[in-house]
Symmetry: C2
Subunit: 372 residues, 2 copies
Amino acid sequence: MTDRLTVDVSLDQGRAYSILIGRGLLDEAGVRIASLGARAAVIVSDSNVAALYADRLRTSLEAAGLRSGLVTVAPGEASKSYATYAEVCDGLLAHKVERGDIVVALGGGVVGDLAGFAAATLRRGVRFVQAPTSLLAQVDSSVGGKTGINSPLGKNLIGAFHQPRLVLADTATLDTLSEREMRAGYAEVAKYGLIGDAAFFDWCEAHWAGIFSGGPERDEAVAICCRSKAGVVVRDEREDGERALLNLGHTFGHALERLTGYDSDRLVHGEGVAIGLALAFRFSARLGLCPGQDAGRVANHLALAGLPTSLAAVPGGCGDADALLDAMAQDKKVRDGALTFILARGIGQSFIAPGIDAAEVRAFLTDELLAG
Amino acid sequence: MTDRLTVDVSLDQGRAYSILIGRGLLDEAGVRIASLGARAAVIVSDSNVAALYADRLRTSLEAAGLRSGLVTVAPGEASKSYATYAEVCDGLLAHKVERGDIVVALGGGVVGDLAGFAAATLRRGVRFVQAPTSLLAQVDSSVGGKTGINSPLGKNLIGAFHQPRLVLADTATLDTLSEREMRAGYAEVAKYGLIGDAAFFDWCEAHWAGIFSGGPERDEAVAICCRSKAGVVVRDEREDGERALLNLGHTFGHALERLTGYDSDRLVHGEGVAIGLALAFRFSARLGLCPGQDAGRVANHLALAGLPTSLAAVPGGCGDADALLDAMAQDKKVRDGALTFILARGIGQSFIAPGIDAAEVRAFLTDELLAG
């Protein structure tokens, strides 16, 4: 096996793990998973991804002496439901997954969250491996141990912290992503620069096209993002503090997803995040926290990459300022009725801003809606 | 507040908690839960227990300044299902349980397991308090952090380790238990003596009637059992070793529950355990590990307390030896096809016996069935 770009997530208590990044990693999955000491590895995937990659992954697992199996769910956010969670758990049990065995999540963020939660709770916890096949999953959701499903009362309200034992980010799988999914994932890439790494945002401005086309920039960007996220997770696994910075753009973004009924034809997560990033910077500028030119630079770059950056870009609209505010107040990060935002003093200088006055937010959103 | 019998569960990382034991503790619940620093405490209970105790508990919570709420499920093992789990989670969310709030499990083992699992996974984990109202829950299931539900493929196959922050065992609530439930719980009491405390088994033989009648022996027995379980849990929280001893009688018992379709009209958990304890000692004697007189003493004492001690006592029968063996082999504690039992070298001298030959078990069960 070739050496691979590696990011170590240095958690304690035997929970440290590696993120491997590179083209063709799926074909090495068997050997690498077998080295964790398992007997069986059962894959959870969605029908789209399974059709593309499940056979290759199973061949690799079986060649390494692992018994393999496959549990398939429907693609899309609707699979992060109680009902599909039960189907996945029972499917894994039907494949006789025992305590020492491994669940492999093969797919994007939905599959990773769902399979991870099933692994976290099957027999009170079995090990799992993330094999993310979307850019969003490779740079964000596959790292850090947040797993879960949606309740009818809100997104990601049911779940567990359950760290993977290994992340295999085969960047060649991104070749089969649609342009739209690629762009949506790119919003999360740019986010890492905006949170705390201005130099990486500069680099993104210069090299983003290589990430999309699959050049070496892609692997490099995934590694930089994973290293950034791994650092945050190690310092604040349970989001008691710093980890909340990763939600930059997400308070607005989640509200937009909610108001568009989680209808991916209208808006996917990364698009909501892109609009949310642009809004977070413009709101920061309005509050006098951040130079207006930084807010402009953020919106310009996201737009150049083909991402939406304003409320007017939401297909079918997103309601008025009060509807947006209500949708934000349901966010689980709201405490005691006060609104907490992640704001910025500039590119790469984000911070947690608790106790933001709802009236300020309403006025900002009203102006944004008028601006069109 | 009066001083209460207290057992400390000395876990690390801020997860240490106390078990308080005594009559009337429900009326102190508010003050004691408020001292954990919560704003709201939402109760999960079943309709039988809620009718008896929910108002008192809510009055106590509200008097201590806590916002309270109540989510009710149907009584019985059938509520440990995916569907009821979803209902409980959504019910807690509808009561606006936030990360800093507390879920209170008010009821027997079913409610504790179900509410604990909901708490473990709601918003990726909120705190919970056990207020067990059955003897079985007070001496066993409310302590140690095992939470979960059943899958159609087996019992307790879905769950999480999630320690309570406090256990309030109001022993006066046992006054409203049926004789049958009381007896079933008593099987778990006797189990602690049989596992590792011969002196406690002696004490049980002398004082069991006081446990049933609600004398001071009841509180004392609950405290001794909790102290015993707490010690095991602290040493082996995740059941990598010693904790498996708590399954004495349970491999047989779970198989009998499975074969009677988890129909509590036929067999409740504690009755399965009582038969399982008698079988574990007779099997140990048959293997030459344990004096036959100890096996006799175990069966005699359980029978004196009104518990079943043989396969013939299962209403409607339990199938033949192969059916029993199959039901045991599905138990999640089976590894690599080998049968692991908890056996004993005498009263108070249990041990983990891996690799027990299935043929030996089959022959033993066949003779047990013939003996009638």
